[in-house]
Symmetry: C2
Subunit: 339 residues, 2 copies
C-alpha cells in the first residue's frame, strides 16, 4: 500500500510526500526566524559573521527550525517566542556542522567548500563555539528553563553520539544497535528537541510534548538513514553530488553494515580491508557493486520508512489539521527524497 494511500485512512486531505505544505504554513514565521538568525549571528569580530554566513546564508531547508515552528503551530501557538527558539535550534545545528567539518574532513557541504577548507580547523571550532554560546544566550533571553533543559540535554547527547561515531570509525564489526545509537544521538536528538520545544512554548500537556518529541526522534532517525543511503546512491552521483564520503572516512553506516553481514567470506575480507586497513580509489566502485548485489540501499530505505511511519503515528493524539497533515507529509518527504 502506498504511503499516500495510508495517509488517506486517518487523514481527510490526501497529502503527497512533500515539504511544501509545512513550508507554506510556517512561511512568515520562517522569514522572522531567518531575520533573527542573521541579526544574532552578528559579531564585531568580522570572521564570525563571515564564516557563519557561509553555512547559514547558504540556507539549506532549515528543516529543524521549520519543525519547531510547525510543531508550535500544530499546538496552536501564536506568540513570537517560537521564532527565537527556532533560531536557537538552527544555531546549535550550524555549530555541529562547523565542528563536523573538523570531525570528518568532508570536502563539500551543500555544494560549497566547507568553512574548514576555507578558514581552517581553528576558525570552524571557534565560530561553532560562538554560535553554540549565542544559542544559549537567546534561550536565556527567552527565559524558559524547560527549553534550556531540553536543548542543553540534546547538545550533550549530540556530542556523545559524535564521539561514539568517532570510536566506531574503521570498525566493520560494529552492531546495528551501535549504529542506531549513533544516529539517534547525533541526528535524532536535535530533531526531537526541535519538535518538543514547539509544544513546550505552546504550554501543551506533557503527553503532547512527549508525542511531538517522539515524532521528531523517529523522523530524525529516518532522515539520517536516508542520508546514509544517499552517500552510496548512483542517482546522487548522476546529479553530480560527491558520494562515498562515509566510505572514504571508514564510517560504517547501515548500507555497508548489511552488505558486510550478508557478504561471502571473500566479500567480508574486502570490507575488512577497506574499512579497517587501507583502500584505493577503485575500491568505492566495488563497494557500490556489493551494495547493489545485496540491495542494501532498498533495505535501508525500508528501515527509514518504518521509522517514518512511527513518526507519523506519534501524531495520532492530535486532531486532524492542516498542520498535522503537513508534518506527516514532511516525514514522507524526508524518506522519499532519496528515490
Amino acid at each position: 500500500m502506498s504511503v499516500a494511500a495510508e495517509l488517506d485512512e486517518n487523514n481527510p486531505a490526501p497529502v503527497k510526500a512533500s515539504l511544501e505544505p509545512l513550508m507554506d504554513l510556517v512561511k512568515s514565521d520562517l522569514d522572522e526566524t531567518n531575520r533573527i538568525i542573521l541579526d544574532r549571528m552578528h559579531s564585531d569580530v568580522e570572521l564570525i559573521p563571515t564564516l557563519a554566513r557561509h553555512l547559514i546564508a547558504a540556507g539549506g531547508k532549515r528543516l529543524r527550525p521549520v519543525l519547531t515552528l510547525g510543531s508550535a503551530k500544530l499546538c496552536g501557538y501564536e506568540g513570537d517566542r517560537a521564532c527565537k527558539l527556532a533560531a536557537c535550534v538552527e544555531f546549535i545545528h550550524t555549530a555541529t556542522l562547523l565542528h563536523d567539518d573538523v570531525v570528518d574532513e568532508s570536502d563539500l557541504r551543500r555544494g560549497n567548500e566547507t568553512a574548514n577548507v576555507l578558514w581552517g580547523n581553528q576558525a570552524s571550532v571557534l565560530v561553532g563555539d560562538f554560535l553554540f554560546s549565542r544559542s544559549f544566550q537567546l534561550m536565556v533571553e527567552d527565559g524558559s528553563l524547560d527549553v534550556l533543559r531540553i536543548l542543553s540535554n540534546a547538545s550533550a547527547v549530540i556530542a556523545e553520539g559524535e564521539v561514539l561515531q568517532l570510536m566506531n570509525v574503521g570498525d566493520i564489526t560494529i552492531t546495528q544497535q551501535s549504529y542506531l545509537e549513533v544516529i539517534t544521538a547525533k541526528t535524532a536528538a536535535l530533531f526531537e528537541a526541535a519538535c518538543e520545544v514547539g509544544a513546550v512554548v505552546a504550554g501543551r500537556s506533557e503527553e503532547e510534548c512527549k508525542a511531538l518529541a517522539m515524532y521528531g526522534n523517529k523522523l530524525g532517525i529516518a532522515f539520517q538513514l536516508i542520508d546514509d543511503a544517499l552517500d552510496y546512491s548512483a542517482e546522487q552521483q548522476a546529479l553530480g553530488k560527491t558520494i562515498g564520503d562515509d566510505f572514504r572516512e571508514g564510517k560504517v553506516t547501515l548500507p555497508v553494515l548489511l552488505a558486510y553481514e550478508q557478504g561471502t567470506e571473500e566479500e567480508k575480507d574486502f570490507w575488512k580491508r577497506v574499512i579497517e586497513a587501507e583502500q584505493s580509489e577503485e575500491d568505492l566502485d566495488q563497494a557500490l557493486d556489493l551494495i547493489r548485489k545485496h540491495d542494501t540501499l532498498a533495505a535501508t530505505f525500508e528501515e527509514a520508512k518504518r521509522y517514518g511511519e512511527t513518526a507519523k503515528s506519534a501524531l495520532d493524539i492530535f486532531p486532524d489539521s492542516p498542520e498535522k497533515a503537513a508534518l506527516k507529509a514532511a516525514v514522507d518527504f524526508a524518506v522519499e527524497r532519496a528515490f
Copy 2:
C-alpha cells in the same frame, strides 16, 4: 614600595603573595566541587571521561572554581549551590582548553601531552562540546537564569576573543589595544564570570556583584599578562618548561609587541620576518635577546601589577575579612608567581 607593604595600608592583616589562604578557606567546598566534577564528567561513551580526566584530573590549581567558591564565601554564602556552579565554571574552562588544543597546536599543557596529540583534533572538539553542554545542564539544574545569563555571555565573549586572536596571528603590527581586547575576552571574561557568580548565588546587591566581576576581570587580565611573559622566561626554561610556544605560533603578545615598538629598523625587520613570514629554530634565541635588551618582560610584569592593584581595590566596598585578604593575596600570587 613592595606589594606586601601596599597591602598593609588598607588591610589590617599583612598578607604575602600566596594562593594558600584562599585554598585553605575553600578547601572543603573545593573537595565537594571536585567530587561533582568527577561525577558529572561521566558518560557511557568511554572516550569522554577518559579524555576529560586527562585534563581535569591532571588538576592544575582549579583557580577559576576556587574564585567562585572564594567569592561566594566573601559574600557569606553557605549553601551548596556554589560547588555545583564552580564545577560549571571548570567545565567551561576545560572545554576551552580542549578546543585550544585544536586552536594552537600546543604540544604540552601542564607537562602532559595534550589530549589532541593523544586522541586527535576530532576527539578534542567533541569532548569539549560535551563538557560545555554538561556545564549548561548543571546550570539548568541549579535553576538560576542570572547564572545562565552570566556564563552564556562569558562563553560567547571567550569564543569572540579566541577568533580575534586567530585573526591577529602572524600580524606584528597589531595595537596594544587589540592585544588587550583579546586577553580580556579569551581569559578575563571567565575569571569575571566565575567571581560574579559567587556573589549572585549569595544574593548580593548589584553593586557587590559588579565589584566582584571587576575583581575577576582585572585579575584575569593580570593573570594572562603574566602567562604571556612566562612564555619567554629564562627561569621557566631553567625549570624545564617549554617556552616560545606563542613565538612559534606567530601569536603576538605584549613582550613581543613592546620589543617591536621599541626596536631599531633592523630589529623591526627581524620581528616582521619571524612573525609574518618564516622562522627557524635559532630565531627564538634572538627574540629572547631582543626581549631582554628592551626589558619588556619587566614592563609586562609592571602592567600586570597595575591590573592586579585595580583588582584588589575593587574589593574595597567589602569589609575586611579573612576572605577579602585571601582574595587579595591570590592576586599577588597570580602576578608574582612569575618571579
